[in-house]
């Protein structure tokens, strides 16, 4: 397994649209393993393939403290959503920034697991937030884009300064 480099916002590649996985091959399984290691090493609770510059619909999530409850979502789609909740989110691609984002409170998701089998899961709370956050990445969207334009501008110039 190898740890991968995580793209840092602002980076154009974070805005690429991911394509659905056609078949869960050994390559995809290796990608999942590498992404999992990368997420654990960075102390994240979720990582989308987009963030490691692979533009395929793959997400790994583990919201447990014990780091032993991995969820893998390949080609995830939200088939139902309801309610509304606000959570302070941070992102491995935007280090040091935490902002409140409003999202659906309950979601039902259909996806493929690491063996390529389809499954449906209902999620709420942090898991629901995290799935939506990662699915946004697959659509080329970073969570800070939910913020006001002014906040985004300020943030971008701050981050650019830091990256110089």
């Amino acid at each position: 397994m190898t740890s991968m480099k995580i793209l840092q916002y602002p980076d154009e590649r974070l805005h690429k649209l991911a394509t659905p996985v056609r078949e869960v091959t050994v390559e995809i399984q290796t990608l999942v393993q590498d992404m999992t290691e990368t997420m654990y090493a960075a102390h994240g609770i979720g990582l989308a393939a987009t963030q490691v510059d692979v533009h395929q619909c793959v997400i790994v999530i583990d919201i447990s403290d014990s780091r032993d409850a991995l969820h893998v979502f390949i080609n995830p789609e939200i088939i139902a959503a309801s309610g509304e909740s606000t959570c302070e989110e941070g992102c491995l691609s935007v280090p040091g920034v935490f902002e409140k984002v409003r999202r659906a409170e309950y979601i039902t998701v259909r996806a493929l697991n690491i063996d390529g089998d389809s499954f449906v899961i209902s999620a709420e709370g942090l898991l629901a937030v995290c799935i939506q956050h990662e699915m946004d990445h697959l659509l080329g969207k970073v969570f800070v884009e939910y913020l006001s334009r002014l906040k985004q501008l300020r943030l971008k110039s701050k981050l650019k300064k830091q990256q110089k």
Binding site: A42, H43, E89, G90, C91, L92, P95, V129, C130, K164
Partner: protein, 433 residues
């Protein structure tokens, strides 16, 4: 995605870094922390605990950590905040249970929030990762240097070696341990055994040392102590709890507590018996603390005066005192477990200032003591010049003064050293004949 627990850890490192840099610039740790608790009222108890642990820990082992850092840096850092952040990171790597990767990653994020220089990221990664890789060698090299080995300034080590050649090593080691947390039961309100039973119900185990001194097996937050706000109990080191009983006060006596703030010993005196107590301190702010303490304990009957103990003309009404408690300003070298910042804030040159003040206070207060009266001289120091030498010189110049033996049985010559039961104090009971 990342969640707030990471944000919390970054915030913890950030605040601890700022606290340490302010202390190393000359502020007292207690004051700086209090200022931050006021400014950041939203911090959770857990976060406060973590910030406190890191701040105390870094200062406790500053000699060691800073020596390690010196070995890891090619040239000195001009950025004080970055320097302190690296101390925090090294402390966490060496002394905390936080995973090494988390410490390094968070330190990098923290440097961003502290707006450190752009080169900081690489430096933090290099320094902390090199420490992880070369830990054993670095610690070995550090231990070859006394400041690195004992985490005390060199002048302090030299002084203790000179004064206590056979014990100084163990004294230095004990100074770097966590202090015991000890309660003083307000026996006007509740019996010691009864309070101990109440603690047992709350699953807080204690050991009775002497008098009303209950040492907690595990430190707990003040809020968890039953009846604290009702004044059933105070927090006071067991060594400090010897003062009031040693003064031998009896009902109706005129008693002066000359350097009273924050009022721990004053309140103890009032808990013991009905006396006419005058509480004196030179700092109006610290006297507010005394009043709060006395009010909490339900002890109101005393005169509180703001004035300089070394200059009785300012405040004395001319009526002699039967007993005087002179808990004089000192280096506080006996209480560094509670105040690890003292080790690095004190200069050797401060000592002569303390001994001059002590002498002036002692000489002045002696004038206000009645014949056959007793004065208890107290310091929280282990340095001989503030203690035994001070008293020997006083006796030499005052033919009407004799020392009395101490009734507590904890010390033969008045000097208590920090140990598992109490901090370091010096007591001398003087009798005016």
């Amino acid at each position: 995605m990342v969640i707030v627990s990471k944000k919390r850890m970054i915030e913890t490192q950030r605040v601890a870094t700022i606290v340490i840099s302010e202390v190393l610039a000359g502020a007292s740790l207690t004051n700086v922390l209090q200022k931050y608790w006021h400014a950041h009222s939203s911090l959770s108890d857990q976060q406060r605990g973590a910030i406190q642990d890191i701040s105390y820990g870094v200062l406790r082992f500053y000699g060691q950590i800073n020596t390690v850092l010196g070995l890891l840096l090619k040239k000195p850092l001009w950025d004080q905040k970055l320097h302190c952040l690296l101390l925090v990171g090294l402390y966490q790597l060496q002394f905390s249970r936080t995973s090494a990767h988390a410490v390094v990653n968070h330190a990098v994020s923290t440097s961003l929030s502290l707006s450190c220089d752009k080169g900081a990221k690489g430096l933090i990664n290099a320094v902390l990762r090199n420490f992880i890789r070369q830990r054993e060698d670095l610690l070995k090299t550090t231990a070859k240097n006394e400041v690195g080995k004992y985490s005390h300034p060199q002048w302090w080590i030299d002084k203790l070696r000179g004064q206590y050649p056979s014990d100084y090593k163990i004294m230095l080691k004990i100074n770097n341990q966590h202090p015991p947390m000890t309660l003083r039961v307000n026996q006007r309100k509740i019996k010691v055994a009864e309070y101990q039973a109440q603690l047992n119900i709350s699953n807080i185990t204690t050991e009775l040392l002497w008098g009303g001194a209950l040492k907690l097996t595990q430190p707990v937050a003040i809020e968890k102590l039953p009846g604290f706000h009702k004044g059933l109990v105070s927090i006071q080191d067991a060594g400090a709890q010897l003062a009031a009983p040693l003064l031998d006060v009896h009902s109706g006596m005129r008693v002066l507590d000359a350097c009273a703030a924050p009022g721990g010993k004053s309140s103890h005196l009032l808990e013991l018996t009905e006396i006419e107590l005058t509480v004196l301190d030179h700092s109006p702010e610290r006297l507010i603390k005394v009043k709060q303490n006395l009010t909490r304990l339900g002890l109101k009957k005393c005169h509180i005066i703001c004035g300089n103990a070394a200059n009785p003309i300012e405040w004395w009404d001319g009526k002699l005192f039967d007993r005087i408690l002179a808990d004089v300003p000192c280096s506080a070298s006996g209480v560094v477990r509670h105040h690890p910042d003292i080790k690095w804030l004190r200069r050797e040159s401060d000592l002569s200032q303390f001994t001059t003040t002590q002498k002036m206070i002692l000489n002045s207060l002696w004038q206000t003591l009645a014949r056959d009266g007793k004065l208890l001289y107290v310091t929280c120091s282990v340095f001989i010049e503030e203690n035994r030498s001070q008293i020997e010189e006083f006796l030499h110049h005052h033919s009407d003064a004799r020392t009395l033996s101490l009734s507590c049985g904890k010390t033969s010559n008045g000097q208590l050293f920090p140990n598992s039961q109490h901090d370091g104090f010096f007591y001398a009971l003087l009798h005016k004949i």
